[in-house]
Amino acid sequence: MDILILLSNISLALGSFLLLTGALGFLRFPDFYSRLHACGVTETLAAFFIVLGLLLQSQDPLPQAKLLLILLFITFSSPTASHALAKAAWRAGIRPPGEHSAPADKPRG
């Protein structure tokens, strides 16, 4: 039982570290798409590790089932929300900085 508590603490620590680095990138990156990348990637993985840490710590089967449900839902919905944000920002006209930022739906050739 002690090894489970140790693994749970390691997983919670990893999740907390990912939260901190994601928040730092979210505050400091220069434009929207890099902020979106920092926030979306670290948020999904940090949620995964934190819920995994809680899953290793719980004993009854019903909270474990609920935690598994949260884990599956966040793993599927957080990247989808990031894609929806990127698509909405692209359609609204926000472009990443650079001189070759042409819209993708212009016909080529």
Partner: protein
Amino acid sequence: MLAIAVLITLFVMVLGLARAFAGPGVFDRILAANLFGTKTVLFIAMSGYLFGRPDFLDIAVAYALINYISVVGVLRYFELRNEDQPEPQE
């Protein structure tokens, strides 16, 4: 370790609020709202285990669903609104 993780989650939520106030344009603020919502889910789940009541997980499941639906709904509104009037760059 659980208490430290709860404090770090609270700190990250405050940082997300800072970006929500300062972010140029509306999409930065929607991103900050999404961040705040998912961190709230983690905060509720961890607080439940910290106080010895894992029954809070029901609230966490419900809030995860609500947060996702509301972010996608708000984005759909802004995407359709901004189709003919493009969003000003920062």
